[in-house]
């Protein structure tokens, strides 16, 4: 039984696809910003000297990382509304995403902060720098640069994970696909198109983060440029040397 693909049947619904994609990006943007803040706070909390704070952050992180996102959404959206707290699906989606991203980010950032060699902190102390300044310049900033690739990967993953919020009718891209396929009955085509759209969004986001990394972290720019110039200089110097007459052995 041959199947004929009918992608053109989806053309009239391009606006719905676009709206869904925009909503996905909005959800991602909001959860990225707040999730990062939460992640940093939690990373600091997990490294704190207060045992109860460490335990609290630990419980939060482990609970979120060991339960499915779908279940977290259900607990939040349906659970809270049954207790009387109703909210729009999009808000519930963002809050759950923030809680989720926060936990994963906390682990990544904490690992980055732990990886700072204690020798550097000692050196900073011996130079007389104040504690907050040491924390920022010697611990936080290098940690950020180190974990930037992992954290931005996490954000792209969150963007893909936002598709699950379609199950509580947040009007994002997968939700749009669900609607469109129920109208047109072109289910396979719809989801293939949406898969392609997510792929485009993911590539775009990765590129954006890559650029952002170069802008934010001057060191990579400076070192990268210096390396390229050194390579160029060695090439011209070697050419000049091999052209000179050889000395007798």
């Amino acid at each position: 039984m041959r199947y004929t693909f009918n992608f053109s049947g989806l053309a009239p619904y391009w606006e719905m696809f676009l709206d869904g994609a925009l909503m996905t990006l909005e959800l991602t943007l909001a959860s990225t910003i707040f999730g990062l803040i939460l992640g940093v706070l939690c990373a600091i909390g997990k490294r704190s000297r207060l045992p109860w704070l460490r335990t609290l952050c630990g419980i939060y992180i482990e609970t979120v990382r060991n339960t499915p996102f779908l279940v977290q959404i259900f607990i939040f959206y349906f659970g809270l509304s049954s207790l009387g707290y109703t909210m729009p699906a999009a808000v519930a989606a963002v809050i759950t995403m923030v809680i989720n991203v926060g936990a994963y980010s906390a682990e990544i950032i904490r690992a980055g902060m732990d990886a700072v060699p204690p020798g550097q902190i000692e050196a900073a102390e011996c130079l007389g720098l104040s504690r907050p300044r040491i924390y920022w310049h010697v611990v936080m900033l290098p940690a950020f640069e180190k974990v930037y690739p992992s954290i931005t990967s996490q954000f792209v993953l969150m963007m893909l994970m936002s598709s699950v919020t379609s199950q509580i009718s947040a009007e994002e891209l997968t939700g749009a696909a669900n609607n469109i396929q129920s109208i047109t009955f072109l289910s396979l085509e719809t989801y293939i198109v949406v898969a392609g759209l997510y792929l485009v969004l993911a590539v775009l986001l990765k590129a954006l983060f890559s650029l952002g990394g170069l802008v934010l972290f001057r060191r990579r720019r400076v070192v990268g440029r210096a390396a390229r110039e050194t390579a160029r200089a060695t090439r011209t110097a070697t050419l000049r040397r091999t052209a000179a007459p050889r000395q007798a052995a």
């Binding site: 039984m1 199947y3 482990e62 609970t63 990382r65 060991n66 339960t67 499915p68 996102f69 779908l70 279940v71 977290q72 259900f74 607990i75 349906f78 659970g79 809270l80 509304s81 049954s82 207790l83 893909l160 994970m161 936002s162 598709s163 699950v164 379609s166 199950q167 997968t174 696909a177 289910s187 396979l188 989801y191 293939i192 949406v194 898969a195 997510y198 792929l199 993911a202 590539v203």
Partner: protein, 216 residues
């Protein structure tokens, strides 16, 4: 306030059982496929390498939920009536193979070039070096990440509920539809997932620590 009847609790446990079945099925099948993906990614034949890379990037760049739908409706066009378990299993297998293939490739490539040289200089062929020297070391290196990914797989099976497969999450939804206590039901469901995943997460972390200490 209604309380859980024992029948409902058992229904949840049955769902838990199916979660385990789907997890094991996808992980095992996905591992076999993932091994193939890894070999393809390491192949010296250009087009094979590129194809594998495209496959991995493609699967990693789309949501699992959408992949599930594509497989569910895609298999349906062949006229065969596929049970949700099979559709979910196939989708998860594809998903797992892309991620594991990439994890394992990373491990193989992180083995120092000098190990390859030593094997080559003893006369071993490229395949012999790969199978006898490199891969055994790479497996040990990749164990924490592989177990960590198993946790992801178990959590991902919750999405199979969307295509109608009655695993733990779907069982929870069904019970909630008669009990109307979502907080209690889904907290319990979450608890079950936690019991499955937490020990594995801890094991993965322990292995990672041991590996970092063992390296001189």
């Amino acid at each position: 306030m209604d309380h859980f009847s024992s029948a409902q609790f058992l229904y949840l446990l049955k769902g838990l059982g199916w979660t385990l079945v789907l997890s094991a099925l996808s992980f095992v099948l996905g591992s076999v496929a993932g091994f193939g993906v890894m070999l393809a990614r390491l192949s010296r034949i250009g087009p094979v390498r590129v194809l594998a890379a495209v496959f991995i990037q493609g699967i990693q760049g789309i949501p699992l939920l959408v992949l599930l739908f594509v497989v569910y409706f895609g298999v349906g066009i062949f006229g065969i009536d596929v049970p949700p378990l099979a559709a979910a299993g196939i989708a998860l297998m594809v998903y797992v193979s892309a991620f594991l293939g990439e994890i394992w490739r990373g491990s193989v490539e992180s083995i120092e070039k000098t190990q390859w040289e030593a094997a080559e200089c003893l006369g071993l062929s490229r395949w012999q070096s790969l199978l006898l020297v490199i891969i055994p070391q790479a497996i040990r290196l990749s164990l924490p990440a592989t177990v960590g990914f198993l946790v992801q797989v178990i959590k991902s099976t919750s999405l199979a509920s969307v295509v109608g497969f009655v695993e733990l999450t779907r069982a929870g939804q069904i019970i909630n539809n008669s009990l109307f206590q979502p907080f209690l039901v889904f907290a319990l469901v979450g608890g079950f997932y936690f019991l499955l995943c937490f020990p594995l997460s801890k094991w993965s972390q322990a292995m990672e620590r041991k590996l970092n200490v063992g390296r001189r």
